[in-house]
Symmetry: C2
């Protein structure tokens, strides 16, 4: 095991061998359970466990067997309930537990007796409180599980998100299977990724919220996604590293196979302290972490928003041949800003050749416009969908650019009505499909509610046509920079 | 005059003396015109000049005399129109011109003959095209104006925004007089600031969009706002510097009197090129610019969004005594992120003393929460407005924090209905008014349309109570960092 100075946090001392030859646990019953028991399910629509788990299984049309467990109820949402896990008529693949922490040792004993395979503990109040007796409680349940052959996700987590298998804790998501799988130590971040993804156009393959990681941890999930043939991109929100050696092995497997994007929580002193009271993990040393990420070509991000931007880019854009962007928009100030945003992050915005500028001039009134790059086009061109698309087509056709950003200031477009906006978006989408280069749409809303509403509708058109939409050029530039960086690094290997 | 290597761009060679003793032009007729003529006004509701200027004067209830000028119309929106400026019955203070560029020399001759005082040229197609004959045209009109004692704003600009005087180019703004005045070389950025300001809660004192700056330039406006007793904060979007010596003088006057926030467009090669085709200015050398900004305590920003964040902070927050923040929110992952966001930018998030933590524990269930700082509170507390407010009050009362950020994840709150959200916001607002420390609200929407809609409503409550609202902790932290930096620098002078 590597002597990496990353703390092992409050994990129980695992007796199974750790390191390169550690066998990968079989997580099939977790991600594709044939049966699910929800312990603590109730008929109260406000009850979190009920709302998030039973309701979601129904919403998703989960095809397996569902067993609500509650000694006080005979049915939950029309499904027969059982007084205890021991009464359920089969060994259950995936048990979700919403009981208070103090009741979890009893439940774990029942899981062992009932030969359940995976238990996800929504229950909180363990190691994250930093109270000695609660740390002890976490060790106790992990110990019962290990001795009985049951694997734990959590505690203090939301568990599995696998829309294709009909299992999740959040219905408000895209149902089609995407290429991105995520692991998140934080339940809130996991849910944010899903809900923001629904809005932004990110469909997930699989996801896991794993909380305190008393048993299964980041190494297990990273390794699983690295080997998973349906997962094309891995995103990880990690607070602490439980088993540094196994984690490094998993990171190597992951980054060799596919892009791995990591948001490390607790990179500042206060952040590290917050980590400690969140999932009980200790945040690793910053410099070591950064060195590993550089070595392993990990795409490091600073927040969930940046992670979502990159998920979007990898989900919808082909690898660009280089870093040269053509930008088409309207407005002088925002064109200057767009150019600054791109070059600041390491993309280039090359001038257009004079022959191409002449072609543009042939149909673009010159008043107050810029036809170099960015193109700050004329209002007459901008408001005529075909002329605007023609401009985009000409720029995309230029050999000197590797990709194209098209900016639509929805903040003003809404004044003309969404009809015009719709025509514009449709025309650009056609160019995107024909031009053979990565094309990203930027819909600027300025946070105005009417513009956000219109942009949400336009975004769906774009996503259906596989054109990603970003809220600003800075977002698009940052995402594409990561995309380009990943393929550059891979090509020199 | 200082030998600063900042190009003078395409400005005409001014014959008036330049430098420290250059008299400040009287801009009263520009910002407080007794009469306005709109040349090119029409009754077509789609015509930009008409829509933006005549309509806006009516919307604002402008008290002066309005003279639409159009040889083909006898009235515009019920106001008597005149065939030419020479037919208008008085010398006009402020002329707005929407004529095509080629007609502007004739108009300028008329302005001189009619003894107009200020002319704002919405007309574009001058120096920004980089075509020699159009550069010459810009020189020609500036020359006519200078010889005839008329001053020009623009060309290629939107002109004056002064809601208190009833004059603007944009009706979609807050009408009450704020403390922020802005100058913007870009019309789009000027309009963005106003519209985003309406949404975010920023009321302006005055603003000017000045485009190519053929005559009046950034030095004039900066100097005017520096001396303006109603202006408490100056924001500037600047692409090129026309008169470096006068600009430095004005910057000194401005920064000595009040906070000056500058967004410099064209800081990268492509950005500088875009500047050239936007307003025809040449962007200055980056290092010199940065040195001046450091010396003069200018708050430099990277985009309009950051500028808006700072406007908000200066408009609503008292100077913090230090950089120590107390953060109250819900969610472990987002608490970790909040701490990282604050400390990364240079604020500190100190741990809370154990006595205070005990006070919090007395009414906060411990399960899955963090009570150090950030406070990641329990759902029971979070959803009970009074308990949540009590938590905020206790943290705000701690001597070891200088300011407080309260985070509400509207992205989830909307699921409970806006009623609960409203109670929460009201309770927090009361704490803000009593606690005697700067308190910023953070409403996280994740870009969801329903959450944005709810947040917009909550934001108005907060703004009415003079509590600023930011879309994320990162935004609040960045804005407060600038605020703290400004007062720190000022205190060591």
């Amino acid at each position: 095991m590597c002597g990496l100075p990353v703390a092992s946090g409050v994990a129980f001392d695992r007796e199974t061998p750790i390191g390169q030859n550690c066998p990968m646990p079989d997580l099939t019953p977790l991600f594709f359970p044939a049966s699910v028991a929800i312990v603590g399910a109730s008929s109260n629509p406000q009850a979190l466990v009920n709302r998030n788990y039973v309701r979601t299984l129904l919403d998703f049309g989960y095809k397996g067997r569902v067993y609500p467990v509650n000694p006080h109820l005979s049915e939950v949402m029309g499904i027969t309930a059982y007084p205890s896990l021991l009464d359920v008529p089969e060994p259950v693949d995936y048990v979700v537990c919403g009981l208070p922490a103090r009741l979890t040792p009893g439940l774990m004993e029942q899981c062992v007796a009932a030969r359940a395979r995976m238990v996800s503990l929504y229950s909180a109040g363990f190691g994250e409180t930093a109270e000695p007796e609660r740390l002890e409680l976490e060790r106790t349940i992990a110990d019962i599980a290990r001795r009985g052959g049951v694997r734990i996700v959590g505690p203090n987590c939301l568990g599995v998100h696998n829309p294709s298998a009909g299992v999740s804790f959040e219905s408000d998501c895209r149902r089609d299977r995407g290429i991105v799988s995520f692991l998140s130590q934080s339940g809130g971040n996991a849910r944010d990724l899903i809900r923001v993804g629904r809005q932004r156009g990110i469909s997930y393959c699989k996801g896991i919220s794993y909380g305190n990681a008393a048993d299964l941890n980041e190494a297990d999930f990273l390794q699983y996604f690295a080997a998973d043939k349906d997962t094309g991109v891995i995103g990880a929100y990690i607070e602490g590293i439980k088993e540094p050696g196994r984690f490094l092995d998993a990171l190597m497997q992951g980054t060799e196979a596919k892009p791995v994007i990591v948001l490390k929580g607790g990179r500042t002193p206060a952040g590290a302290r917050a980590v400690n009271s969140h999932t009980g993990a200790l945040a690793g040393e910053r410099e070591v972490w950064d060195a590993i990420c550089r070595q392993r070509k990990v795409l490091q991000v600073e927040d969930i928003e940046e992670m979502a931007d990159i998920f979007l880019a990898f989900s919808y854009l082909d690898p660009p041949r280089g870093r040269r962007v053509g930008i088409i928009g309207i407005g002088g100030g925002s064109s200057v800003q767009a150019a600054d945003d791109c070059e600041r992050i390491g993309l280039t915005v090359p001038p257009l050749p004079s022959a191409l500028r002449e072609e543009l001039k042939a149909f673009t009134p010159l008043t107050g416009v810029g036809l170099s790059n960015p193109i700050d086009t004329a209002a007459d061109v901008y408001w005529d969908a075909e002329s605007y698309a023609r401009t985009v087509r000409l720029v995309a056709g230029f050999d000197g650019v590797d990709m194209v950003f098209v900016v639509i200031p929805v903040i003003y477009a809404v004044m003309r009505g969404t009809h015009v906006l719709g025509e514009q978006v449709e025309a650009i989408v056609r160019v995107a499909q024909e031009c053979g280069k990565p094309l990203a749409m930027v819909l600027r809303t300025g946070g105005m509610v009417d513009a956000e509403t219109a942009a949400a509708e336009m975004r769906e058109h774009c996503i259906a046509a596989r054109v990603p939409v970003f809220p600003g050029v800075r977002h698009a530039a940052r995402a594409v920079h990561h995309l380009a960086w990943y393929y550059e690094k891979r090509s020199v290997e």
